[in-house]
């Protein structure tokens, strides 16, 4: 007997919120970026699971995941570029170092 779909969703949900936790709790920007990757992966699991379990006739979910991976890669590239830029300006990439714009 197969595990119900909810089991998969539990995994994705937990992973998603682990990512959220990381985003909020990590200290440096690369760590935060990693957390974003976790979030995106959680979403990907969702798409794939739904596709596989509920709507197996079309490949929508899978394709979506595919493109999310593509976009995530591009996004990380730009994000890393920006983080390096920040490092160059501020010699630091902790979150607290980018708090000068406020209120």
């Amino acid at each position: 007997m197969n595990l119900p779909i909810e089991a998969y969703l539990v995994v994705s949900t937990l992973l998603f919120f682990i990512g959220v936790f990381g985003f909020i709790a990590r200290k440096n920007l690369i760590g935060i970026l990693m957390s974003v990757e976790l979030i995106l992966n959680a979403v990907n699991i969702n798409f794939v699971v739904f596709n596989r379990f509920l709507y197996p006739n079309e490949l929508e979910g899978m394709i979506y995941s595919l493109f999310v991976i593509v976009v995530a890669a591009a996004e990380s590239a730009v994000a890393i570029a920006i983080i390096i830029n920040v490092y160059r300006k501020l010699k630091n990439i902790s979150v607290e170092s980018i708090e000068s714009l406020r209120n």
Partner: protein, 181 residues
Amino acid sequence: MDFDFIDYLTGQNIMFVVLSAIVLGCGLMSVLSTKILRAATYLFFTLFGIAGLYLLMNYEFLAAVQLSVYAGAVVVLLIFAIFLVKNLGHETEKVSCSKKGIAALASVLGIVMTLVIVFNEGIVPAVVGPTAPQVDMQLIGDTLLGSGKHQYLLIFEASSVLLLACIIGAIVVATKSKEEK
């Protein structure tokens, strides 16, 4: 409904549990570890585990992409970045408990709410289980390059622009300006 534990003790399910444990455990370690390089390593394992889940669901192509793009490219990129930033690899993060607490609280709230909703929703699974037949590569190719319903030529083209723009953007941002040189 009788719940028979044994019924669930299939190889498929065991694999799922193991992979899930890896994914979640490594994910958690990745966000909790105080050393950024370790976190990247855990992230790598997480992504690996997720690729395993894809395989488990017979999405080989996707698993491959996951491994090559994510585990292969993104994580490497991250590690490069970590090395580019001096001393970062050796620094330990000290995050205050209150910050963690609040983050945990928000996450737990979200988890509880989402799960409650998911379990109350009563999603009826389709007849097909997780072990559906493999996806034909031909089909994937058609899907990606077709222009009909459920075909994604347009997206394919659009994402090419996206990638180009992102590359250019990343280069512009990352290169030093004249003054800095």
